[in-house]
């Protein structure tokens, strides 16, 4: 029972980060119908900015803020300087451009910072608080939950309660009509990219300290897990991303705890197959494809 509790909590704190990263994917998908394969590389780039700032100033929190800012900026730059120039008639073109971005960003990071693991510090203790003999959550885990919760709430607030959020939703769902109504559709798209990339950077800042360290490829596997999570939940649904993220986190923890780490990809495939065969648009699919 102890072990189950331990694996559950460990899986949830992992899952919270996957959820945040999946949210970032959902944001871009909703804004521009693009699966941003460069999300991981962009987030790592922001984390490297944090590393430099922290190294220069000695303050973790300045680095943290710099990462978020860098994430927002990078998202806007990628949209304006790259994605907007891409011919979107074939849905594959943006995918290939994103893959090209991954290669480019990772290579540039490797040139600037080297291909070695750099230490990534957590801002607070990662030693678990124990109740009796059972290790429960660490302060850092609580920080992760709180941050992901705040970001999720903030996104909900932006999209449902603010004028800019309304415009962003309108621009995404009916670009032509929105344009006629005077919405700056391109600007909204850029804003969407910036927000998504900022959330991605945040997720990277949260997850890298729990992994091997800072490395150009540090987010590769996180991206795969988060993409799985987003697909599971349904790419159109932010709540789906959260549920999918937590679900994938739990699955990974249980499988490697009870069955062995090498089985994880098999378990993920089985889960995806089951869910998608029952609900081809993900768990939280709202719009069903028109069938004749």
């Amino acid at each position: 029972m102890d072990r189950f509790l331990f694996l559950t909590l460990d899986g949830l704190s992992r899952g919270a980060v996957y959820a945040a990263f999946a949210l970032a994917l959902v944001l871009i998908w909703r804004a521009g119908r693009i699966v941003n394969f460069a999300q991981g590389a962009m987030a790592v780039a922001a984390a490297y900015v944090a590393y430099s700032v922290t190294a220069a100033t000695g303050s973790y929190w300045l680095g943290f803020a710099a990462a978020l800012l860098a994430g927002l900026l990078l998202g806007a730059i990628v949209d304006i300087a790259v994605m907007r120039l891409v011919d979107h008639r074939s849905p594959l073109n943006p995918v290939i451009v994103a893959l090209g971005l991954v290669l480019l960003i990772q290579a540039l990071l490797g040139m600037v910072y080297g291909n070695e693991y750099l230490p990534a510090q957590a801002p607070m203790s990662r030693t678990a608080l124990t109740v009796g003999d059972t290790a429960l959550l660490s302060p850092y885990d609580l920080f992760v939950f709180a941050t992901v919760g705040v970001v999720g709430a903030a996104l909900v607030w932006i999209f449902t309660r603010t004028a800019i959020g309304l415009r962003m939703r309108a621009a995404a769902f009916a670009p032509e009509v929105s344009r006629l109504l005077g919405v700056n559709v391109g600007g909204m798209l850029t804003l969407g990219w910036a927000l998504a990339s900022g959330v991605g950077a945040l997720a990277a800042m949260l997850v890298i300290p729990t992994e091997l360290g800072l490395h150009p490829h540090a987010m590769d596997m996180v991206f795969v897990s988060a993409f799985t999570a987003a697909v599971l939940g349904g790419l159109d649904s932010p709540p789906g991303a959260v549920v999918g993220g937590l679900g994938v986190g739990l699955l990974l923890s249980y499988v490697s705890g009870y069955a062995g780490g090498d089985l994880i990809p098999l378990a993920v495939l089985a889960l995806l197959l089951t869910v998608l065969l029952l609900r081809p648009g993900g768990l939280f699919a709202t719009v069903t494809a028109r069938r004749v």
């Binding site: 693991y117 729990t210 490829h217 590769d220 596997m221 780490g261």
Partner: protein
């Protein structure tokens, strides 16, 4: 439209073929007076494949530059029998498919004399047959797999690192003699590295001498479930057959679970500077960690080898960070120059392989190099190290053993000093 397509197809195919028409080959057999590939009166060309990019490149990407720096040092001191060594380093990103390409490029196009220190078990295993059929000397493979020690099947292939079973036996012997009666657990990588090391551990401690066994896969960076299981099993000693990233991860994860066993780590994952860099502020967790090594410790500034290699590193490697990988790369370079010298002025592939098989080389390593006609395995032992006060230093005797059921013995031959000018003499 269709004609365009078909024409396109035809043009594409033709151009594909024509563009590659860069050189003319001939398929005459090797004549009698044919020159040795990669060797002229002034130059010896050798090549290697290494992960310089990608997730597996951390640490390893520094080995080849260090080897190259040592060769540059030798070249600056007159070379070997008047020949300068050119070292062609190809990036394979630890992808076996890329290794296939780059090794063929080295052998068939660049016509290297030998392949030196190719890194990785899955990557190098794939090119063994190719190198064998092309009779290319395949020296000092950078991995502790037992694949390289098959003199009957691959007469030109030689290992370098002690194999993982030898390491496992020596580590387990330390646990058995100095920490008797403790509960011992084992975490290994889910491949031949982990399996061979576990086999070595069990040869010494017995199958029931290991309380809990866990494995990890490199694609999943969460080892909390495994470490949690060790804690639940009450492990007091944990033997790790892990790459550096996962050593650091295991130590860090254990600390946050409030679990503090004695760590005993195999050579691959025990380089203190690498681990400390990754752990950052938490490097203090490595205090007391026992590791295994067979080359001089990079921090041992009194060691004449370290003094030599530091000098080479500053002069020819741009003063790159000096860690265990740099020492390793230079040790490989030193051994290769020794072998070249022993092969004589009249250098051929046969004379090179014959020189390695003759054995009897002594260099920076503390353990014996076991090269003979029937043994191609490389270093056959090592010495234990401990981290204390943020420094990793050797303690106790050097041990040697075999990969079978032989006993773990002390190795008493005294270490040698490098020659005054740092270049081996014939």
């Amino acid at each position: 439209m269709r004609t365009t397509e078909r024409r396109g197809l035809a043009i594409a195919t033709t151009l594909t073929l024509l563009l590659t028409l860069t050189a003319c080959g001939s398929d005459d057999g090797p004549g009698s007076g044919e020159p040795v590939p990669g060797v002229t009166d002034t130059e010896i060309v050798v090549g290697t494949h290494m992960p310089l990019t990608g997730p597996a490149s951390a640490g390893y990407s520094k080995i080849a530059p260090a080897t190259k720096a040592y060769f540059d040092y030798v070249n600056a001191n007159g070379g070997v029998h008047g020949r300068k060594i050119t070292y062609k380093v190809m990036d394979d990103g630890y992808n076996p498919a890329t290794t296939q390409q780059v090794v063929r490029q080295l052998v068939l196009q660049d016509k290297v004399f030998a392949v030196l220190n190719g890194l990785g078990t899955p990557t190098h295993t794939g090119v063994l047959d190719f190198l064998h059929t092309n009779r290319v000397p395949d020296l000092f493979v950078a991995s502790g797999s037992r694949n390289w020690d098959q003199p009957d099947r691959y007469p030109n292939t030689f290992g370098f690192n002690p194999d993982y079973t030898v390491e496992g036996k020596i580590l387990a012997n330390h646990v058995k003699t100095t920490l008797p009666g403790r509960k011992v657990c084992f975490l290994g990588q889910d491949d031949d590295f982990g399996q061979d090391a576990l086999a070595g551990v069990e040869k010494v401690l017995g199958t029931d001498g290991v309380v809990a066994r866990e494995t990890y896969v490199t694609s999943n960076t969460n080892v909390a479930p495994q470490i949690g299981a060790f804690k639940a099993a009450g492990c007091e000693v944990v033997i790790l057959a892990t790459v550096p990233g996962f050593t650091a991860l295991s130590v860090g994860t254990a600390a946050r679970l409030g679990f503090r066993p004695q760590w005993v780590v195999s050579n691959v994952g025990a380089d203190h500077p690498t681990l400390a860099r990754q752990l950052g502020d938490a490097a203090g967790l490595l205090e007391g960690m026992v590791g295994l090594n067979y080359l001089p410790m990079q921090g041992d500034t009194d060691n004449p080898w370290i003094q030599l290699f530091t000098k080479v590193n500053n002069e020819h490697n741009g003063g790159a960070e000096f860690d265990g990988n740099a020492v390793y790369g230079m040790a490989v370079g030193y051994l290769f120059v020794q072998v070249l010298l022993a092969a004589g002025k009249d250098l051929t592939r046969e004379s090179l392989v014959e020189a390695v098989r003759k054995g009897g080389y002594q260099g920076p390593g503390v353990a014996p190099l076991r090269f003979s006609a029937t043994d191609h395995s490389g270093y056959g032992g090592g010495r234990l190290s401990r981290v204390s006060g943020g420094k990793q230093t050797y303690f106790g005797p050097t041990y040697e053993t075999d990969e079978a059921d032989g006993p773990v013995n002390e190795y008493t031959a005294p270490p040698v000093s490098p020659p005054a000018n740092g270049v081996p003499n014939a």
